[in-house]
């Protein structure tokens, strides 16, 4: 037998590893947390990796999961071994095809990272609500509990589907298993070949559609035969469990790893048994083992094959002694008598007992409970709680565990301090920033330990809900035995604090066990480290006798050429202190790993990392812990005490990391949350913030316009408001002639605690200091010394009244930018290219806007708890926002319009009915108000208020009805917002329909040219030759011209804008789009981190894109036709640089030049030709006269 080979990978890679080898076609579409499986497949195909039959699988990205399912179905029908990967909403979209595939007894495996379905909220995390929604499809369901099982069950599923003809849904828990990094044993290709024999493949092919042996499949049937025909499949389902068990047995013989469909673990004479599926089984198993060692007699049953449900085997697996069973479901079906697994078990027990299966003589008491929705922690303490409940005289049924349900009292109690972690397992936690490389280093450490020792290793990573300044917490375990602990570490031996700023935010020491190690990266001198710790942390360090270490990793990293990436430095510290490996051996292994990891990326990268390793140890110091806690500060409150109660009591707790402890009663029941909350979350993530030099400033307004986070603001005001201004508050005379005439003052103020420090405002600032051109009117300076005075200035600035909207000239950036943004402090990436557009929309129309937001980056930074950037003005007005789905956003927004129009119609109808009471003139004015500008809208609002007053005095039911709809007499602005993944791909059908509807909606496409939120996958917007996921070899086809397609309707306003190239053009387009009484679409060039650019200088990319003709600026305004003009205005000038110059400036194109220069050369040439052609086409269209054909002649 070959030597056993171990690798350290995560669940997604484990599934893809097998699926890629045993399939010929993969139809894919990105969705978290399954995207990585498709990415692996695509990457391997582009690298020419082969399957077990020696050929490269065909990997095809589709426009949606529904599309992927259709392609899978077709590929299967045409005879190829075909697979797909998905989760959650993606699985829902595949369901129609799954019924078909199963109905036709077609062999395939769908790999599912089980994830919550969006209900009251979206969640990317794991539970079984998606797979349970698909349980009626006729697919077999095989659930893997660990990363090892994912690899094993992927193969077992494939072998079983080919033998049974029943398609398989192979599932494992999203994130918990899909993203857990674990040391596992690899399945050799020979094993795969033995289980997937040529006979099976041939049989699959023989069933395919081919004109050489034509058959008909997919008929329509009538009441006379459909039913009988449907029953023909029964014998396949009856045979399936035996087939799967046979495969498992053969697999065991080949690998030594034996599995059962129903696997019992625990005391042979247990009376209390817990039944469940997937990763939770690991926790229950390790808890059972501990409890039994402590004298309990408990057991657990792992259900691996959920469909077809083989209750005979279930009965046979249970010990005869069982008296009580708790079935745990990781899903919720509101309104059902109980959760699905519970019902299945109860039914199975009843039937099984009746048929005399197994050893149980009497029906046990069976209860059911829910756990772990949306990756809610499921710990040994909770498992013990379940067993304790089961042991009670009257166990609670239909319970929940892991939460505090103080409303309907479903939750059971448990002792959170119950801990089963073995002493021989090293447990380490690391708090890092996304940008510092902590997670990458930890993944690397796991590999080093996994591959250099006999230890098993596990890593799991908790990420932030914000993208800018994202905090990561890594949980690593190492030990001599297989690690069955799919839950976060609560008592660590080692905690690393990789950023000083965390000290004032998180209570890290609470998770450190007595005698453990705390390592802090800090810039303060070593003799001041102790005093830099918050008092509560000092106290715990003393009480728990913690060993304290410190290093100035930032300086070491910088001196080694690593910039802000302290990953290697901190990794060396961990190995040096923890002693997981002998120090010299560890250093050598780290260096080997650096050469292996970075060798392909260049010797310079290897050299700087090696340098960092060599520079670390001499800078690592143990800090002597004094006897007293002497610090004069403590961890900051998550939100201000002045915040509203809900923000303080609920959102603040989530910010503080205490969301798990909030009870059910804390939450709204229907998913409705207040807006205007981001302002309470002072994140303090900027190292540097812009400082205004009012003497250099030209007051152009561009800084506020481009600020992605609305943290740089402008106000113009009467000098009287300066009374009581803080000493350092800056102001100067307003330069605009209208403002100057009033003697008004002008201030630019930065929100120091909300700024991300992206630097885009500095990039755009055109004003240079006359005496030192390295200075502009905005210059970055360290945040910490400025934090306190500028916070006071910010507070003062906020209380200066905004200019009356009706008095603001909104037609140029200089003055328009004084409008209050109603989208502020989002958690988007620092320097985000989307948010300036959204913010502009909020400034111009936010007080009457209603937003439909497609799932994606904008729905995440717009609506991910704890807080939202959508804000309100002083009148309490602001954008109302919702996210329906990814695929339906245009339709969802159209629905807004239909409802608004209808309610306005009702209001008009009622006004007309009440004409006598209200007065004909008043009614006429209300109905026919123009509302084309801010003044007219303000006038209409005033009239509606007057109307309400009048109505309150009219005793008529119609008057009361009119009050409820009277606000719809004021113009509402419907905005349909989303990215290119939505607009070009998954939502295009709906978008097209909405454009064709003629309805007055405004569509804003934030075009990043990839699926940004899921990590940069190719969309139909991705330009030719760009490297993106699913286009690893450079995109071979050109970008879809969405604007041209929209223009084809003739009555749609279409604009293509790039704010960094021409900001005034963007402003004009927004104003025109909103003014157009019909559908409008703005396609907005949005630079993105996925472009591989310097995010502190992104505007240069807009300019290059436009100057090269790669991105066109234009407006197509159907209203111009009425004026006898050509509706298309091409605002781009003749390209003045080549496309290559633009492409050479971005990583997405550079990658192709570096990886495949020949292909790059060809594609760049084609790209230039396409740009030339497109420009010529638009120029031709824009220069056509609008005269009739005869006249032109």
């Amino acid at each position: 037998m070959k030597e056993r080979e171990f690798i350290t990978i995560d669940g997604n890679e484990a599934a893809a590893y097998v699926m890629y080898r045993v399939n010929e076609v993969c139809a894919i579409y990105p969705i978290t947390p399954s995207s990585n499986m498709g990415e692996w497949a695509d990457e391997w195909a582009s690298k020419g990796y082969k399957n077990i039959w020696g050929n490269i699988p065909e990997v095809c990205e589709m426009q949606s999961e529904g599309g992927a399912a259709g392609a899978v179905h077709g590929s299967l029908q045409a005879g190829a071994l075909t697979t797909t990967f998905t989760a959650s909403q993606g699985l829902l979209l595949k369901i129609p095809n799954m019924y078909k595939i199963a109905g036709e007894l077609t062999s395939t495996v769908f790999n599912i990272t089980a994830r919550s379905l969006a209900t009251h909220a979206l969640s990317i995390f794991g539970d079984h609500s998606d797979i349970m929604a698909a349980r009626g499809t006729g697919f077999a369901f095989l659930g893997a509990n660990s990363v090892q099982e994912v690899m094993d069950f992927a193969l077992i599923s494939q072998a079983s589907t080919l033998r049974s003809r029943i398609p398989f849904l192979h599932f494992f828990d999203g994130f918990r298993t899909s993203h857990e990094v674990s040391k596992i044993e690899v399945i050799p290709d020979e094993v795969m070949k033995k289980l997937i024999t040529d006979d099976l493949v041939q049989a699959h092919r023989n069933r395919c559609l081919t004109p050489d042996k034509p058959v008909l499949r997919g008929t329509a049937q009538n009441p006379d035969v459909f039913f009988q025909n449907r029953e023909t499949i029964n014998k396949f389902y009856q045979a399936c469990p035996d087939i799967v068990q046979d495969v498992m047995n053969e697999f065991g013989d080949l690998t030594g790893r034996y599995y059962k469909l129903f696997e019992y673990v625990g005391a042979p004479d247990a009376e209390e048994v817990v039944i469940l599926m997937a990763s939770g089984c690991e926790t229950v198993q390790s808890t059972v083992e501990t409890l039994n060692k402590q004298g309990r007699k408990v057991g657990m049953l792992k259900i691996r094959l959920f469909r077809p449900f083989d209750f005979k085997r279930m009965l046979e697996a249970l010990p005869a002694t069982v008296k009580k069973i708790a079935v745990l479901d990781r899903t919720k079906e509101p309104g059902a008598p109980a959760e699905p697994l519970y019902l299945d078990v109860v039914f199975g027990l009843n039937q099984g007992l009746e048929l005399g299966y197994g050893n149980i003589k009497e029906m046990p008491k069976v209860i059911g409970g829910r756990y772990g929705l949306s990756s809610k922690e499921f710990t040994p303490a909770m498992v013990k709680g379940v067993y304790d409940n089961l042991a009670a005289d009257k166990p609670k049924n239909n319970f929940t565990v892991g939460i505090n349900d103080d409303v309907t009292f479903t939750s059971i109690d448990y002792d959170p301090n119950f801990d089963i972690e073995a002493d021989n397992v090293v447990r380490a936690m690391f708090y890092g920033l996304g940008s510092d490389g902590t997670v990458g280093a930890n993944k690397n450490s796991i590999k080093i330990i996994g591959e250099n020792t006999d230890n098993y290793a596990q890593g799991y990573f908790v990420y932030d809900s914000k993208k800018a300044g994202a905090v990561t917490v890594s949980h690593l375990r190492f030990g001599p035995d297989v690690i069955r602990a799919p839950y976060l570490i609560s008592t660590a031996n080692f905690i690393g604090c990789h950023q000083t700023v965390f000290l004032e935010k998180f209570d890290m020491i609470k998770n450190l066990r007595p005698g453990g190690v705390f390592l802090v990266n800090t810039p303060v001198p070593m003799n001041e480290v102790w005093d830099s710790l918050p008092k509560s942390q000092q106290k715990q360090i003393i009480e728990k006798k913690i060993k304290l270490y410190a290093i100035d990793a930032q300086t070491v990293a910088e001196q080694s050429g690593m910039g802000r990436r302290i990953n290697t430095v901190m990794q060396v510290c961990f190995f040096a202190i923890s002693g997981v490996l002998p120090r010299e051996e560890a250093i050598s292994a780290i260096k080997d790993s650096i050469r292996k990891t970075y060798g392909r990326k260049g010797e310079a990268i290897v050299a700087m990392n090696i340098q960092a390793v060599d520079n670390t140890l001499e800078n690592l110091h143990e800090i002597q812990v004094p006897n007293d806690a002497t610090s004069n500060f403590d961890i900051h409150a998550p939100v201000s005490a002045k915040s509203p109660a809900f923000v303080h009591d609920v959102l603040g707790q989530i910010i503080a990391g205490n969301g798990d402890f909030l009870p059910v009663s804390a939450f709204p029941q229907d998913g409705t949350f207040p807006t205007d909350t981001a302002k309470w979350e002072k994140r303090n993530i900027a190292l540097e913030i812009p400082v205004w030099d009012m003497d250099t400033c030209t007051q152009c307004g561009k800084c506020a316009f481009v600020c992605p986070h609305a943290t740089i603001r402008i106000k113009v005001y009467d000098p009287k408001y300066l009374e009581n201004a803080p000493e350092t508050f800056k102001y100067t005379d307003a330069k605009d002639k209208n403002w100057k005439a009033n003697g008004w003052k002008y201030s630019i103020q930065v929100a120091p605690e909300d700024c991300t420090g992206c630097g885009v405002c500095v990039e755009v600032c055109p004003a240079k200091n006359k005496s030192n051109v390295s200075l502009k009117a905005l210059n970055m300076e360290h945040q910490i010394p400025l934090r306190q005075p500028e916070s006071e200035n910010w507070d003062f600035f906020l209380q200066i009244p905004d200019l009356d909207r009706t008095q603001v000239n909104i037609n140029n950036i200089r003055s328009q930018q004084v409008l209050l943004p109603l989208f502020e402090f989002s958690g988007a990436c620092a320097g985000c290219g989307e948010t300036p557009y959204i913010k502009l929309m909020s400034q111009l129309f936010g007080d009457r806007a209603i937003v439909a937001n497609a799932t994606g980056c904008s729905s995440i930074y717009g609506g991910n708890l704890p807080t939202t950037p959508w804000a309100k003005n002083l009148d309490g007005r602001g954008p109302a926002w919702s996210n329906s789905l990814f695929e339906d956003n245009a339709e969802f927004g159209l629905g807004y319009r239909l409802a608004i129009d209808k309610q306005k119609d009702v209001a008009v109808f009622l006004l007309e009915k009440l004409t006598d009471e209200l007065g004909a003139d008043f009614v006429h004015e209300l109905i026919n108000a123009s509302q084309k500008n801010e003044q007219e809208i303000a006038d209409q609002r005033a009239k509606v208020e007057l109307l309400k007053e009048k109505l309150s005095k009219i005793d008529d039911p119609l008057a009361k009805r009119l009050v409820t709809v009277s606000d719809y007499l004021v113009k509402k602005s419907v905005w349909i917002v989303g990215g290119d993944g939505w607009a070009y791909d998954i939502g295009y059908g709906g978008l097209d329909h909405v454009l064709a509807s003629g309805k007055n909606v405004n569509i804003l496409v934030l075009d990043t040219e990839v699926y940004s939120n899921t990590g940069g996958q190719t969309s139909k917007s991705t330009p030719l030759s760009a490297v993106a996921k699913f286009s690893a070899g450079g995109k071979a086809t050109q970008k879809k011209d969405l604007g041209s397609m929209a223009m084809a309707y003739g009555n749609v306003y279409v604009a293509s804008v790039a704010f960094g190239a021409k900001d005034e053009h963007t402003l004009k387009a927004f104003l025109e789009a909103e003014a157009h009484d019909g559908p409008s679409i703005i396609i907005a060039y949005s630079h993105c981190i996925a472009h591989g650019i310097d995010m502190s200088r992104p505007l240069a990319q807009h300019k290059l894109a436009v100057d090269s003709g790669q991105w066109l600026l234009y407006r197509y305004n159907p209203n111009l036709v009425d004026e006898g003009k050509n509706p298309l205005i091409l605002d781009s000038k003749q390209p003045k640089i080549g496309v290559r110059e633009f492409m050479q400036s971005e990583g997405r194109f550079q990658m192709l030049m570096k990886s495949n220069p020949k292909v790059a050369e060809v594609l760049f040439k084609t790209a230039q030709e396409q740009v030339n052609e497109r420009f010529a086409k638009y120029k031709f269209m824009a220069e056509r006269t609008n005269a009739p054909v005869e006249e032109q002649k």
Partner: protein
């Protein structure tokens, strides 16, 4: 007419060599250089600093924003192989050697001693006939002495000479306190040739944007005076061969350089201005002059007007400067 010359042990059909320039960036360009009649070519310079920058830039792009947000743990597919570092350059040398018969001289610019020697070895391995060290360095460190800088130059040369067996030329700036002494030191350290002189491009100011911008000005014929003087001075006093570069635009310029003692002339600006085929015109001009003046070969004239071989050696020295200046004043 015998235009043959010798340069670093190689016999060249003429002294017309194409210097490091964008003309040799592609195989196609290299073939055109040969077709135009150049006797050898120096490849465009590969900069260690640029290679490191490219590697770091790519690393930055592929790691920026990664491992930070659960849904987007990376933004790019992993590529198994990148053409980083000198790979592309080495490949071009290999292809050039397969495609052209004229000698191919690799040109490198390092920032570390290790970088210089590693590159030099790789170039030799790829088939380069010789190496030209293009020391393009503007010392700005207020604490670094001239002597230290001079020692650095010698150290780089020694290291490279120890690392490769092909000839090594050194392309120099004229800004040494004593050029003659440095030339001697380089000669002693084993330089097979000195290329005189590198032109340092001086940046300019964009008055609209108030930005300093690179501003490349092609050489003009008067630029040849400086290398001409130094070649004249050095010819016959050191063993290293001498290559003239800067301001060589016409056949007569080449002749002048041959007279003072250059082994070859390096052409760049004039070819960028008039196209690579202009080499033919230069050659014709040379032949015409030589015919008219009854010269039989290049070797015959090489060094005939070096400082050692002219009646008034001070013509190339300071006294001549005084004279020149006086004449200038008198004329105006």
């Amino acid at each position: 007419m015998d235009l043959k010359t010798k340069y670093m042990g190689m016999t060249l059909k003429s002294p017309l060599v194409v210097s490091a320039s964008p003309l040799s960036r592609t195989l196609d360009g290299i073939k055109k250089i040969e077709d135009a009649g150049a006797s050898a070519l120096v490849m465009y310079s590969i900069f260690e600093e640029q290679i490191k920058f490219d590697q770091k830039e790519l690393y930055y792009h592929t790691t920026q924003g990664t491992e930070a947000f659960a849904e987007s743990l990376s933004y790019f597919p992993d590529q198994s192989d990148y053409n980083l570092g000198p790979d592309e350059y080495l490949e071009l040398i290999r292809k050039a050697k397969e495609s052209v018969k004229i000698p191919v001289i690799a040109s490198i610019n390092g920032t570390t001693v290790g970088g210089w020697t590693d590159f030099a070895k790789q170039m030799q391995g790829a088939g380069a006939d010789a190496i030209e060290l293009n020391i393009y360095n503007i010392p700005t460190d207020l604490d670094k002495t001239g002597a230290e800088i001079e020692n650095d130059y010698v150290e780089i040369l020694r290291s490279v000479k120890a690392a490769v067996s092909v000839p090594v030329a050194l392309k120099l700036s004229p800004f040494f306190s004593n050029m003659a002494n440095m030339a001697k030191r380089f000669d002693t350290a084993g330089a097979d040739a000195l290329v005189l002189f590198n032109r340092f491009y001086q940046p300019d100011i964009n008055l609209e944007e108030l930005e300093v911008e690179p501003h490349i000005i092609l050489s003009n014929p008067t630029d040849l005076r400086l290398p001409m003087r130094w070649i004249a001075i050095l010819k016959g006093r050191i063993f290293s061969d001498l290559a003239a570069t800067s301001g060589i635009h016409y056949g007569e310029d080449v002749i002048k350089m041959m007279l003072v003692g250059a082994n070859v002339t390096m052409l760049c600006s004039t070819l960028l201005r008039y196209g690579v085929d202009y080499i033919k015109d230069i050659e014709e001009e040379m032949v015409e002059w030589m015919t008219e003046h009854e010269y039989e070969s290049i070797m015959q004239m090489q060094g005939s007007m070096s400082q050692l071989n002219i009646p008034d050696p001070s013509s190339y020295e300071r006294a001549q400067y005084m004279k020149a200046l006086n004449n200038y004043v008198l004329n105006y």
